[in-house]
């Protein structure tokens, strides 16, 4: 990818070839991986954020991750801070995969800002697309019941134990059933992107809630 320059002191050592004397260098080099994003103009063109907004976003991002990239563990830590009562790691994992569009294991500022651009400034269609992408764990274009169950469990995990009414084992499953009943029009056990978008657009609640976070930035 253009603009991605990796400054490393030594070559990235393959995991299999790591031996004891090399591990020190390994540590050294991991800490020096840096990433510089593309220029401001390019990002401005690619996203729907203004220059100022990009500046603010980048400053916050770089403050948190001075090396310019977020790896999954850091991402999980950060996300977990918002949900102190429950365990947000599973959901954070799914989120990470949804943001990490090029699947290279780390979130750069571009990924971050692209995702945000869709979520905050995108059309309803784009947002629904993004949500579908989040639910479709293996990115095969279909949401199966298992995938949905995983997502649902992850969401309920974030609630933690102390809830009212008390969370039962089968609550996520029931929730998935309800969801599938609503979304799966042809009852073939999977939800496709069209079914999903259609159904959501017909649902008032969902439509309304899509606009809630518009003034976040």
């Amino acid at each position: 990818m253009d603009g991605k320059r990796l400054d490393t002191i030594s070559e990235r050592v393959d995991a299999a070839a790591v031996s004891a004397p090399d591990s020190i260098e390994d540590e050294l080099e991991l800490s020096t991986v840096r990433h510089r994003p593309e220029g401001l103009e390019q990002l401005e063109a690619q996203t729907r954020f203004s220059r100022k907004e990009l500046q603010i976003l980048y400053r916050g991002f770089k403050n948190e991750c001075p090396s310019g990239v977020v790896n999954e563990d850091t991402f999980k830590e950060i996300y977990a801070q918002f949900f102190p009562q429950g365990d947000a790691s599973t959901y954070a994992h799914f989120l990470f995969n949804a943001f990490d569009t090029d699947h290279n294991g780390s979130l750069s500022f571009e990924d971050f800002v692209m995702g945000l651009s869709i979520l905050l400034r995108g059309t309803v269609q784009e947002k629904l697309n993004w949500a579908f992408n989040l639910y479709d764990i293996n990115k095969d274009g279909y949401i199966t019941k298992e995938e949905m169950l995983d997502i649902m469990k992850a969401i309920y995990d974030m609630m933690g134990k102390c809830t009212y009414p008390v969370l039962k084992e089968e609550t996520p499953r029931q929730h998935v059933e309800v969801f599938f009943q609503k979304m799966d029009k042809n009852k073939d056990g999977v939800v496709t992107i069209d079914e999903f978008i259609d159904c959501c657009q017909n649902d008032e609640n969902i439509m309304r809630s899509m606009h809630i976070f518009e003034n976040v930035l």
Binding site: G60, Q81, L116, L119, I151, I155, F213
Partner: protein, 645 residues
């Protein structure tokens, strides 16, 4: 919330769109961000050094000074910046906390200064990052110990109203508090030494006599040694009983190590008295005599080094335990090996494994007595391995113990040094404080002089006086004056107060006490002639007294007689701070009040009532006066206000 969350909150909220399609209920409305002002740069001026940061950076921690509206109190309208009159170096760490979310402790800063800054800016020290937290806690603990040490030493000061029991206990614990205690300390030390020497000499062969062969002195001069022993045990018993009586918690005292040593030291004698001449148990009686050697441990009360050693061993218990354990393991291993290696040899001394223990111990500690020596080749090989490993195993825990001892020893040295320095430090501080008190008295003197000069003197002299007091001082003195007027008492200096105390205790003034009681105040007394020749900031002038009929100076007359005697020979040290020195005017002054600047002696003796000249704090005494020496409290007067108030 940490910085991370603040910066990533928009992200988390945006990602919440992922829940929308699966939501079962409608979503609540989002809060509106009405304060849509742009993020601006804030200028923070800390003692001249300017820092700039975004407003949002500071807003991350709204419960601190900089993050809340509290900083508006420091806003400087003209310069449009926030001004803080604090240390700019420490402020760096504090601002970095806002920026990075981590608070670091700069190692070169003083811990209490740093703490103060944190408190000022409303940041709790617990959030110091892991990298610096340990250092912070260590320094803080050290500081606390140091302060505690100082406080403990303060407790040496004798509190009034101590019972006999408490006095005795204090005397036992700190021999330097009174002469009696010191005498007692030395006497017991002497007798311990005598006792130990007696025990040793008892066994020395004394030389042959016609009747008997060479026998130890103990059996030749039985009576003499018995008397010595009795005397020592008497002393020890008395000492033990006295300590038991004086101890604040007898049960705890009886359980303490020193008391057990005391008991063990004197018990054999009593047991011996009880079961003398009984042949069966005389063997046991002889064994008991061994315990007499424990008397030498009583020396640990007298020697600090011994105590430190004991304390070190106690604190290194785990290292010692490890040493012992590893040695035991090694001994067993090598003894077994040597036994089986030497089994073949004909006249081997290694008859059993326990017999080989002795050889192993002697070899591992590199003693090598040579009474047991391996003869086979295998035995010799294993023997050499044994001695080499012995050297290693023993050398390992020893440095730990040594370093522990060194640390504790140095700590003790430091404590002693501090205690020694403290006396001079306190003395200097006291001088400074009394200097400020004297300033007030001096100014009163000036005030009256002024009045006089208005009547008599020249313009110049008046000007000289006036110039010498700054506005701050004059305000302070006015305040003290108001206090005097409120309470209808006056401030006096220590010396005069002491004299008053003494005189009223010693003599009775039927004619004067009514005046005292009617006045209810002890006034400033006058002092005889005094002068210092040294390089002082204050010049102490003296003059003859002039009695003003309208003054409250009925006591002045009396005091004059007494004061002259007492003033002379008093010690004078220099006052350090620059006080307004009364210019040396004409030697004869018609002032009513002549404050005597005692410029206190350096050491405040702890013997109360013995040195009437020693400086004490003064307090306007109430009439009638209780006996002076036990009642004049040593506390500093309320006058010891910081001069720069």
């Amino acid at each position: 919330m940490a910085t991370g969350t603040a910066a990533w909150l928009p992200f988390a909220r945006a990602a919440a769109i992922g829940w929308m399609p699966v939501a079962s209920c409608p979503m609540p409305l989002a809060p509106r961000d009405n304060s849509k002002k742009k993020d601006e740069l804030i200028m923070l001026n800390v003692s001249g050094r300017r820092f700039q940061t975004w407003r949002t950076t500071l807003d991350r921690y709204p419960d601190t000074l900089l993050g809340s509206s509290e900083k508006d109190f420091f806003y400087n309208e003209e310069a449009k910046e926030y001004f803080f009159d604090r240390d700019p170096d420490v402020f760096r760490s504090i601002l970095n906390f806002y920026r990075t979310g981590k608070l670091h402790y700069p190692r070169q800063e003083c811990i209490s200064a740093y703490d103060e800054e944190l408190t000022f800016f409303g940041i709790i020290p617990e959030i110091i990052g892991d990298c610096c937290y340990e250092e912070y806690k260590d320094r803080k603990r050290e500081n606390l110990e140091r302060l505690q040490d100082d406080q403990e030493d303060n407790k040496d000061m004798k509190l009034p109203n101590m019972t006999i029991r408490e006095t005795m206990w204090r005397a036992f614990e700190n021999p330097h508090t009174s002469t009696m205690a010191l005498v007692f300390y030395y006497v017991t030390g002497f007798f311990i030494a005598i006792s130990v020497i007696t025990n040793v000499v008892e066994t020395v062969p004394c030389g042959a006599t016609p009747h008997h062969k060479n026998m130890p002195c103990g059996e030749r001069y039985t009576v003499a040694f018995f008397c010595m022993d009795t005397a020592c045990v008497m002393i020890f018993t008395v000492e033990y009983l006295l300590r038991l009586f004086a101890a604040p918690s007898r049960y705890r005292f009886m359980r303490s190590v020193m008391s057990i040593i005391d008991v063990v030291a004197i018990l054999p004698y009593y047991i011996g008295l009880v079961m003398s001449n009984n042949e069966d148990v005389s063997g046991a009686f002889v064994t008991l005599r061994v315990f007499r050697v424990f008397r030498i441990f009583k020396f640990s009360r007298h020697s600090q080094g011994l105590r430190i050693l004991g304390y070190t061993l106690k604190s290194c218990a785990s290292e010692l335990g490890f040493l012992l354990f590893s040695l035991t393991m090694a001994i067993i291993i090598f003894a077994t090996v040597m036994f089986y290696a030497e089994k073949g040899s004909s006249s081997s001394k290694f008859t059993s494994i326990p017999a080989s223990f002795w050889y192993t111990i002697v070899t591992m500690t590199t003693l090598g007595y040579g009474d047991m020596v391996p003869k086979t080749i295998a035995g010799k090989i294993f023997g050499s391995i044994c001695s080499l490993s012995g050297v290693l195993v023993i050398a390992l825990p020893v440095p730990v113990i040594v370093s522990n001892f060194s640390r504790i020893y140095h700590q003790n040295q430091r404590a002693d040094k501090r205690r020694a320095q403290k006396k001079t430090r306190q003395a200097r501080i006291r001088i400074a404080k009394s200097g400020s008190a004297n300033a007030f008295l001096a100014s009163k003197h000036h005030g009256l002089l002024n009045e006089l000069l208005e009547l008599t003197g020249t313009e110049e002299d008046e000007q000289k006086l006036i110039r010498n007091t700054s506005l701050l001082e004059s305000q302070h003195h006015h305040l003290l004056h108001c206090l005097e007027k409120t309470t209808a008492h006056e401030f006096v200096d220590e010396h005069m107060f002491e004299q008053n105390c003494l005189e009223e205790a010693l003599q009775s003034y039927p004619s004067r006490s009514p005046s005292v009681s009617s006045q209810g105040s002890c006034t400033i007394c006058c002092c005889g002639s005094r002068s210092t020749s040294r390089n002082t900031a204050l010049h102490i002038q003296s003059s003859q007294l002039a009695v003003h009929p309208s003054s409250r100076s009925n006591l002045n007359l009396r005091a004059e007689d007494g004061s002259r005697v007492n003033c002379k020979g008093g010690q004078v040290t220099t006052a350090i701070i620059s006080l307004p020195s009364p210019p040396s005017l004409a030697p004869h002054r018609e002032g009513r009040h002549h404050p005597h600047h005692p410029t206190t002696t350096t050491i405040r003796p702890s013997h109360r009532g013995e040195h009437p000249r020693s400086p004490r704090a003064s307090r306007p005494p109430q009439a009638p006066h209780p006996p002076a020496s036990s009642r004049c409290p040593p506390s500093d007067r309320s006058l010891s206000v910081d001069r720069n108030f």
